[in-house]
Amino acid sequence: MTDTVLTLDNVFKGFDGAAVLKGISAQVQSGEVIGLLGINGAGKTTLLETILGYALPDAGTVSLFGVATNVLHDESLKHRIGFVPQRDELLDQMTGRQFIELVARFYDHWNQPLLDRLAQEFDVPLDVRASKLSVGQRQKLSILVALGHEPELIFLDEPVASLDPLARRRFLQTLIDLVAEGDRTILFSTHIVSDLERVANRVWLIKDGLLKVDAALDELKERTVRITLPPGAAVSDTIRTEETLIHLRHEQESAVMVFSHWDAARHDLLARQTNGMPEPQHLSLEEIFLELHR
Protein backbone atom coordinates (compact mmCIF):
# COMPACT_ATOMS: atom_id res chain seq x y z
CA MET A 1 0.00 0.00 0.00
CA THR A 2 2.60 2.51 0.87
CA ASP A 3 5.30 2.43 -1.69
CA THR A 4 8.49 4.32 -1.97
CA VAL A 5 8.01 7.49 -3.93
CA LEU A 6 11.49 8.87 -3.60
CA THR A 7 14.84 7.27 -3.02
CA LEU A 8 18.09 9.09 -2.56
CA ASP A 9 21.14 6.95 -2.82
CA ASN A 10 24.36 8.48 -1.62
CA VAL A 11 23.83 11.79 -3.36
CA PHE A 12 26.76 14.13 -3.66
CA LYS A 13 26.50 17.63 -5.00
CA GLY A 14 28.95 20.48 -4.97
CA PHE A 15 29.31 23.90 -6.51
CA ASP A 16 32.50 25.61 -7.50
CA GLY A 17 34.56 23.00 -5.80
CA ALA A 18 32.75 23.22 -2.48
CA ALA A 19 30.72 20.16 -1.58
CA VAL A 20 27.22 20.95 -0.38
CA LEU A 21 25.69 17.50 -0.18
CA LYS A 22 28.11 14.87 0.98
CA GLY A 23 26.32 11.62 0.61
CA ILE A 24 22.63 11.85 1.37
CA SER A 25 20.67 8.63 1.46
CA ALA A 26 17.03 8.43 2.36
CA GLN A 27 13.71 7.01 1.37
CA VAL A 28 10.31 8.56 1.32
CA GLN A 29 7.15 6.51 1.52
CA SER A 30 3.93 7.67 0.02
CA GLY A 31 1.70 9.58 2.38
CA GLU A 32 4.51 11.06 4.44
CA VAL A 33 4.91 14.71 5.17
CA ILE A 34 8.56 15.46 5.55
CA GLY A 35 9.97 18.64 6.94
CA LEU A 36 13.39 19.64 5.76
CA LEU A 37 15.37 21.62 8.26
CA GLY A 38 18.75 23.17 8.12
CA ILE A 39 20.54 26.41 8.63
CA ASN A 40 20.92 28.80 5.72
CA GLY A 41 23.33 27.34 3.27
CA ALA A 42 22.99 23.83 4.61
CA GLY A 43 21.81 22.62 1.25
CA LYS A 44 18.02 22.39 1.46
CA THR A 45 17.42 24.11 -1.85
CA THR A 46 20.30 22.21 -3.41
CA LEU A 47 18.77 18.95 -2.27
CA LEU A 48 15.36 19.82 -3.65
CA GLU A 49 16.81 20.97 -6.93
CA THR A 50 18.90 17.84 -7.24
CA ILE A 51 15.86 15.66 -6.61
CA LEU A 52 13.90 17.49 -9.27
CA GLY A 53 16.59 17.30 -11.86
CA TYR A 54 17.40 20.98 -11.97
CA ALA A 55 20.92 20.07 -11.09
CA LEU A 56 22.77 16.88 -11.73
CA PRO A 57 24.23 15.15 -8.69
CA ASP A 58 27.96 14.71 -8.79
CA ALA A 59 27.49 11.18 -7.57
CA GLY A 60 24.66 8.97 -6.43
CA THR A 61 21.19 8.47 -7.81
CA VAL A 62 17.75 9.88 -7.31
CA SER A 63 14.73 7.70 -7.97
CA LEU A 64 11.25 9.09 -8.31
CA PHE A 65 8.40 6.61 -8.19
CA GLY A 66 10.93 3.87 -8.64
CA VAL A 67 12.41 5.33 -11.77
CA ALA A 68 16.02 6.37 -11.54
CA THR A 69 16.04 9.87 -12.89
CA ASN A 70 18.91 12.18 -12.38
CA VAL A 71 17.53 14.62 -14.88
CA LEU A 72 13.78 14.56 -15.25
CA HIS A 73 13.43 13.54 -18.85
CA ASP A 74 10.53 11.24 -18.22
CA GLU A 75 7.63 13.54 -19.00
CA SER A 76 5.08 11.17 -17.51
CA LEU A 77 6.62 11.69 -14.10
CA LYS A 78 6.08 15.42 -14.37
CA HIS A 79 2.33 14.86 -14.18
CA ARG A 80 2.76 13.48 -10.71
CA ILE A 81 5.09 16.06 -9.27
CA GLY A 82 4.50 19.58 -8.06
CA PHE A 83 7.09 22.09 -7.00
CA VAL A 84 6.88 25.44 -5.30
CA PRO A 85 10.29 27.07 -5.76
CA GLN A 86 11.80 29.54 -3.40
CA ARG A 87 11.72 32.31 -5.98
CA ASP A 88 8.25 32.25 -7.31
CA GLU A 89 9.23 32.08 -10.99
CA LEU A 90 6.02 33.50 -12.28
CA LEU A 91 5.88 35.27 -15.60
CA ASP A 92 5.58 38.89 -14.59
CA GLN A 93 3.63 40.11 -17.54
CA MET A 94 0.89 37.56 -17.17
CA THR A 95 -1.94 37.57 -14.76
CA GLY A 96 -2.37 34.60 -12.46
CA ARG A 97 -5.25 33.34 -14.51
CA GLN A 98 -3.32 33.55 -17.74
CA PHE A 99 -0.40 31.68 -16.26
CA ILE A 100 -2.71 29.02 -14.91
CA GLU A 101 -4.42 28.69 -18.26
CA LEU A 102 -1.13 28.34 -20.02
CA VAL A 103 0.14 25.70 -17.67
CA ALA A 104 -3.14 23.84 -17.22
CA ARG A 105 -3.28 22.69 -20.80
CA PHE A 106 -0.27 20.50 -20.45
CA TYR A 107 -1.62 18.32 -17.72
CA ASP A 108 -3.92 15.37 -18.21
CA HIS A 109 -5.65 16.21 -14.99
CA TRP A 110 -6.34 19.69 -13.75
CA ASN A 111 -8.62 20.76 -10.98
CA GLN A 112 -9.62 24.33 -11.74
CA PRO A 113 -12.50 24.50 -9.21
CA LEU A 114 -9.99 23.66 -6.51
CA LEU A 115 -7.78 26.51 -7.60
CA ASP A 116 -10.64 28.93 -7.74
CA ARG A 117 -11.65 27.98 -4.24
CA LEU A 118 -8.12 28.26 -2.94
CA ALA A 119 -7.62 31.58 -4.66
CA GLN A 120 -10.61 32.85 -2.80
CA GLU A 121 -9.50 31.42 0.52
CA PHE A 122 -6.01 32.76 0.15
CA ASP A 123 -7.30 36.03 -1.15
CA VAL A 124 -5.17 36.03 -4.27
CA PRO A 125 -6.43 38.19 -7.12
CA LEU A 126 -6.12 36.14 -10.27
CA ASP A 127 -6.71 38.95 -12.70
CA VAL A 128 -3.86 41.18 -11.75
CA ARG A 129 -0.49 41.03 -13.43
CA ALA A 130 2.06 39.17 -11.43
CA SER A 131 4.41 42.14 -11.43
CA LYS A 132 1.79 44.13 -9.59
CA LEU A 133 1.18 41.62 -6.84
CA SER A 134 2.79 41.88 -3.46
CA VAL A 135 5.41 39.36 -2.43
CA GLY A 136 2.96 37.49 -0.23
CA GLN A 137 0.37 37.31 -2.97
CA ARG A 138 2.94 36.06 -5.41
CA GLN A 139 3.97 33.38 -3.03
CA LYS A 140 0.39 32.29 -2.53
CA LEU A 141 -0.16 32.24 -6.27
CA SER A 142 3.00 30.26 -6.63
CA ILE A 143 1.65 27.65 -4.24
CA LEU A 144 -1.70 27.54 -6.00
CA VAL A 145 -0.29 26.92 -9.41
CA ALA A 146 1.72 23.99 -8.16
CA LEU A 147 -1.38 22.28 -6.79
CA GLY A 148 -3.57 22.56 -9.84
CA HIS A 149 -2.74 19.20 -11.32
CA GLU A 150 -3.15 17.52 -7.92
CA PRO A 151 0.28 15.93 -7.87
CA GLU A 152 1.08 12.91 -5.75
CA LEU A 153 4.43 14.26 -4.72
CA ILE A 154 4.78 17.89 -3.80
CA PHE A 155 7.98 19.72 -3.05
CA LEU A 156 7.94 23.12 -1.42
CA ASP A 157 10.97 25.27 -0.85
CA GLU A 158 10.30 27.83 1.87
CA PRO A 159 6.72 28.26 0.77
CA VAL A 160 5.66 30.48 3.63
CA ALA A 161 8.66 32.73 4.06
CA SER A 162 6.72 35.83 3.10
CA LEU A 163 3.33 35.00 4.47
CA ASP A 164 1.66 36.51 7.48
CA PRO A 165 0.48 34.16 10.26
CA LEU A 166 -3.07 34.05 8.96
CA ALA A 167 -1.94 33.10 5.48
CA ARG A 168 0.43 30.55 6.94
CA ARG A 169 -2.35 28.95 8.91
CA ARG A 170 -4.54 28.78 5.84
CA PHE A 171 -1.70 27.27 3.91
CA LEU A 172 -1.18 24.64 6.56
CA GLN A 173 -4.84 23.80 6.50
CA THR A 174 -4.68 23.42 2.75
CA LEU A 175 -1.75 21.08 3.11
CA ILE A 176 -3.59 19.11 5.74
CA ASP A 177 -6.61 18.83 3.48
CA LEU A 178 -4.36 17.50 0.78
CA VAL A 179 -2.80 14.99 3.13
CA ALA A 180 -6.16 13.94 4.50
CA GLU A 181 -7.35 13.09 1.02
CA GLY A 182 -4.76 10.42 1.16
CA ASP A 183 -1.76 9.20 -0.74
CA ARG A 184 -0.06 12.52 -1.18
CA THR A 185 3.52 12.91 -0.21
CA ILE A 186 4.86 16.28 0.76
CA LEU A 187 8.40 17.40 1.25
CA PHE A 188 8.90 20.94 2.38
CA SER A 189 11.66 23.03 3.72
CA THR A 190 11.02 25.89 6.04
CA HIS A 191 12.55 27.94 8.78
CA ILE A 192 9.30 28.23 10.62
CA VAL A 193 9.78 25.21 12.76
CA SER A 194 6.48 25.53 14.55
CA ASP A 195 4.64 24.98 11.29
CA LEU A 196 6.66 21.87 10.73
CA GLU A 197 5.78 20.55 14.13
CA ARG A 198 2.13 20.71 13.27
CA VAL A 199 2.12 19.17 9.93
CA ALA A 200 5.18 17.02 9.41
CA ASN A 201 5.37 13.44 10.50
CA ARG A 202 8.99 13.05 9.58
CA VAL A 203 11.94 15.35 9.91
CA TRP A 204 15.09 15.58 7.85
CA LEU A 205 17.81 17.78 9.15
CA ILE A 206 20.71 18.63 6.90
CA LYS A 207 23.90 19.56 8.62
CA ASP A 208 27.38 19.64 7.14
CA GLY A 209 26.11 18.08 3.96
CA LEU A 210 24.66 15.03 5.65
CA LEU A 211 21.25 14.00 6.87
CA LYS A 212 21.93 14.28 10.57
CA VAL A 213 18.36 13.51 11.44
CA ASP A 214 16.00 11.29 9.49
CA ALA A 215 13.33 10.30 11.93
CA ALA A 216 9.64 10.41 12.63
CA LEU A 217 8.83 13.61 14.44
CA ASP A 218 7.05 11.98 17.36
CA GLU A 219 9.84 9.54 17.85
CA LEU A 220 12.40 12.31 17.65
CA LYS A 221 10.64 14.29 20.31
CA GLU A 222 10.26 11.31 22.57
CA ARG A 223 13.81 10.20 22.44
CA THR A 224 15.53 13.58 22.63
CA VAL A 225 15.82 14.91 26.12
CA ARG A 226 17.63 17.65 27.90
CA ILE A 227 18.78 17.25 31.47
CA THR A 228 19.98 19.98 33.73
CA LEU A 229 21.95 18.76 36.72
CA PRO A 230 21.80 20.68 39.96
CA PRO A 231 24.63 23.14 40.53
CA GLY A 232 27.86 21.49 41.52
CA ALA A 233 26.86 18.03 40.36
CA ALA A 234 29.74 16.38 38.60
CA VAL A 235 29.55 14.77 35.24
CA SER A 236 31.26 11.42 35.20
CA ASP A 237 33.32 10.10 32.34
CA THR A 238 30.78 7.42 31.61
CA ILE A 239 28.28 10.08 30.84
CA ARG A 240 30.73 12.14 28.86
CA THR A 241 31.55 9.26 26.61
CA GLU A 242 27.96 8.13 26.27
CA GLU A 243 27.40 7.86 22.57
CA THR A 244 23.96 9.37 22.53
CA LEU A 245 25.11 12.53 24.22
CA ILE A 246 24.71 15.23 21.63
CA HIS A 247 25.83 18.11 23.68
CA LEU A 248 27.18 18.98 27.06
CA ARG A 249 27.62 22.45 28.35
CA HIS A 250 27.81 24.30 31.59
CA GLU A 251 25.41 27.08 32.33
CA GLN A 252 26.56 28.94 35.38
CA GLU A 253 27.41 26.00 37.59
CA SER A 254 25.02 23.46 36.23
CA ALA A 255 25.75 20.89 33.62
CA VAL A 256 23.26 20.72 30.81
CA MET A 257 23.18 17.57 28.76
CA VAL A 258 21.24 16.70 25.66
CA PHE A 259 20.75 13.09 24.67
CA SER A 260 19.49 11.88 21.37
CA HIS A 261 18.23 8.42 22.34
CA TRP A 262 16.71 8.34 25.74
CA ASP A 263 15.29 5.28 27.35
CA ALA A 264 14.81 3.67 30.73
CA ALA A 265 18.25 2.06 30.67
CA ARG A 266 19.97 5.39 30.27
CA HIS A 267 17.72 6.87 32.86
CA ASP A 268 18.95 4.32 35.37
CA LEU A 269 22.54 4.72 34.29
CA LEU A 270 22.40 8.42 34.83
CA ALA A 271 20.51 8.09 38.09
CA ARG A 272 23.30 5.93 39.39
CA GLN A 273 25.98 8.33 38.25
CA THR A 274 24.44 11.39 39.79
CA ASN A 275 22.46 11.90 42.91
CA GLY A 276 18.80 12.84 42.57
CA MET A 277 18.66 13.55 38.89
CA PRO A 278 16.07 16.07 37.73
CA GLU A 279 13.42 14.98 35.32
CA PRO A 280 14.47 14.79 31.70
CA GLN A 281 12.97 17.63 29.70
CA HIS A 282 11.45 16.96 26.35
CA LEU A 283 12.13 19.61 23.77
CA SER A 284 10.20 21.33 21.06
CA LEU A 285 11.51 20.86 17.55
CA GLU A 286 13.01 24.30 17.52
CA GLU A 287 14.95 23.55 20.66
CA ILE A 288 16.12 20.26 19.21
CA PHE A 289 17.29 22.13 16.17
CA LEU A 290 19.17 24.62 18.29
CA GLU A 291 20.78 21.96 20.43
CA LEU A 292 21.93 20.06 17.41
CA HIS A 293 23.68 23.13 16.18
CA ARG A 294 25.41 24.21 19.30
Partner: protein, 126 residues
Protein backbone atom coordinates in the same frame (compact mmCIF):
# COMPACT_ATOMS: atom_id res chain seq x y z
CA UNK B 1 -12.70 20.13 23.02
CA UNK B 2 -9.01 19.43 23.10
CA UNK B 3 -6.08 21.67 23.56
CA UNK B 4 -3.10 20.62 21.53
CA UNK B 5 0.23 22.31 21.66
CA UNK B 6 2.45 21.32 18.75
CA UNK B 7 5.40 23.19 20.16
CA UNK B 8 5.72 21.35 23.40
CA UNK B 9 8.17 18.54 23.95
CA UNK B 10 5.31 16.10 24.12
CA UNK B 11 4.27 14.67 20.77
CA UNK B 12 0.84 15.75 19.66
CA UNK B 13 -0.57 12.26 19.50
CA UNK B 14 0.44 11.68 23.07
CA UNK B 15 -1.20 14.88 24.21
CA UNK B 16 -4.40 13.85 22.54
CA UNK B 17 -4.27 10.34 23.95
CA UNK B 18 -3.67 11.64 27.45
CA UNK B 19 -6.46 14.16 27.19
CA UNK B 20 -8.95 11.62 25.91
CA UNK B 21 -8.00 9.22 28.68
CA UNK B 22 -8.42 11.88 31.32
CA UNK B 23 -11.71 13.01 29.94
CA UNK B 24 -13.05 9.49 29.89
CA UNK B 25 -11.77 8.79 33.37
CA UNK B 26 -13.26 12.02 34.57
CA UNK B 27 -16.56 11.27 32.87
CA UNK B 28 -16.38 14.31 30.60
CA UNK B 29 -16.61 11.84 27.77
CA UNK B 30 -19.30 9.29 28.34
CA UNK B 31 -19.88 6.01 26.64
CA UNK B 32 -21.34 6.49 23.22
CA UNK B 33 -20.09 10.06 22.82
CA UNK B 34 -18.82 10.81 19.38
CA UNK B 35 -15.40 12.24 18.84
CA UNK B 36 -14.63 14.61 15.98
CA UNK B 37 -13.45 12.96 12.80
CA UNK B 38 -9.78 12.77 12.05
CA UNK B 39 -10.02 15.28 9.28
CA UNK B 40 -12.13 17.70 11.26
CA UNK B 41 -9.78 17.71 14.17
CA UNK B 42 -6.73 17.90 11.95
CA UNK B 43 -8.01 20.93 10.09
CA UNK B 44 -9.28 22.62 13.21
CA UNK B 45 -5.98 22.38 15.02
CA UNK B 46 -3.88 22.56 11.84
CA UNK B 47 -2.06 19.34 12.57
CA UNK B 48 -1.27 16.34 10.47
CA UNK B 49 -4.25 14.00 10.24
CA UNK B 50 -1.96 11.04 10.65
CA UNK B 51 -1.17 12.27 14.13
CA UNK B 52 -4.83 12.29 15.05
CA UNK B 53 -5.28 8.96 13.38
CA UNK B 54 -2.42 7.51 15.37
CA UNK B 55 -3.90 8.75 18.61
CA UNK B 56 -7.29 7.34 17.78
CA UNK B 57 -5.78 4.01 16.80
CA UNK B 58 -3.90 3.79 20.05
CA UNK B 59 -7.01 4.56 22.02
CA UNK B 60 -8.92 2.02 20.03
CA UNK B 61 -6.26 -0.57 20.76
CA UNK B 62 -6.54 0.24 24.45
CA UNK B 63 -10.22 -0.39 24.19
CA UNK B 64 -11.21 3.16 25.05
CA UNK B 65 -12.68 3.98 21.67
CA UNK B 66 -14.77 2.12 19.18
CA UNK B 67 -14.43 2.42 15.48
CA UNK B 68 -17.62 1.79 13.60
CA UNK B 69 -17.80 1.74 9.86
CA UNK B 70 -19.37 4.85 8.47
CA UNK B 71 -19.59 6.53 11.86
CA UNK B 72 -17.09 8.68 13.72
CA UNK B 73 -15.07 7.29 16.62
CA UNK B 74 -17.13 6.79 19.72
CA UNK B 75 -16.26 6.21 23.32
CA UNK B 76 -16.47 2.53 24.08
CA UNK B 77 -19.16 1.24 26.39
CA UNK B 78 -17.04 -0.87 28.63
CA UNK B 79 -14.60 1.72 29.82
CA UNK B 80 -16.82 4.32 31.35
CA UNK B 81 -15.95 4.60 35.01
CA UNK B 82 -14.66 1.04 35.30
CA UNK B 83 -11.09 1.93 35.76
CA UNK B 84 -9.86 0.63 39.06
CA UNK B 85 -8.84 2.91 41.81
CA UNK B 86 -5.29 1.71 41.49
CA UNK B 87 -5.26 2.56 37.82
CA UNK B 88 -6.70 5.99 38.45
CA UNK B 89 -4.20 6.66 41.21
CA UNK B 90 -1.49 5.67 38.80
CA UNK B 91 -2.79 8.36 36.44
CA UNK B 92 -2.50 10.92 39.15
CA UNK B 93 1.04 9.86 40.02
CA UNK B 94 2.87 12.24 37.65
CA UNK B 95 0.96 15.22 39.00
CA UNK B 96 1.72 14.13 42.56
CA UNK B 97 5.41 13.70 41.79
CA UNK B 98 5.46 17.11 40.25
CA UNK B 99 3.77 18.63 43.28
CA UNK B 100 6.20 16.98 45.66
CA UNK B 101 9.22 18.01 43.64
CA UNK B 102 8.02 21.62 43.42
CA UNK B 103 7.32 21.73 47.12
CA UNK B 104 10.78 20.40 47.81
CA UNK B 105 12.33 23.04 45.56
CA UNK B 106 10.37 25.72 47.35
CA UNK B 107 11.58 24.28 50.65
CA UNK B 108 8.12 23.86 52.02
CA UNK B 109 7.55 21.35 54.81
CA UNK B 110 5.34 18.35 54.31
CA UNK B 111 2.67 19.68 56.63
CA UNK B 112 2.46 22.99 54.81
CA UNK B 113 2.18 21.19 51.51
CA UNK B 114 -0.58 18.89 52.74
CA UNK B 115 -2.45 21.84 54.18
CA UNK B 116 -2.31 23.62 50.87
CA UNK B 117 -3.57 20.50 49.11
CA UNK B 118 -6.45 20.14 51.53
CA UNK B 119 -7.42 23.79 51.10
CA UNK B 120 -7.41 23.34 47.35
CA UNK B 121 -9.63 20.28 47.64
CA UNK B 122 -12.10 22.12 49.83
CA UNK B 123 -12.21 24.94 47.36
CA UNK B 124 -12.77 22.47 44.54
CA UNK B 125 -15.68 20.86 46.33
CA UNK B 126 -17.43 24.16 46.69
Amino acid sequence: MFSLNPNSGIPIYKQLVDQVRRMIAGNQLKAGDELPSVRELAVQHAVNPMTISKAYSLLEAEGLLDRQRGKPMTVAQSTAGTESKAARLKRLAPAIDHLVASAHQLQLSDEDTLCAVRRAMEKNND
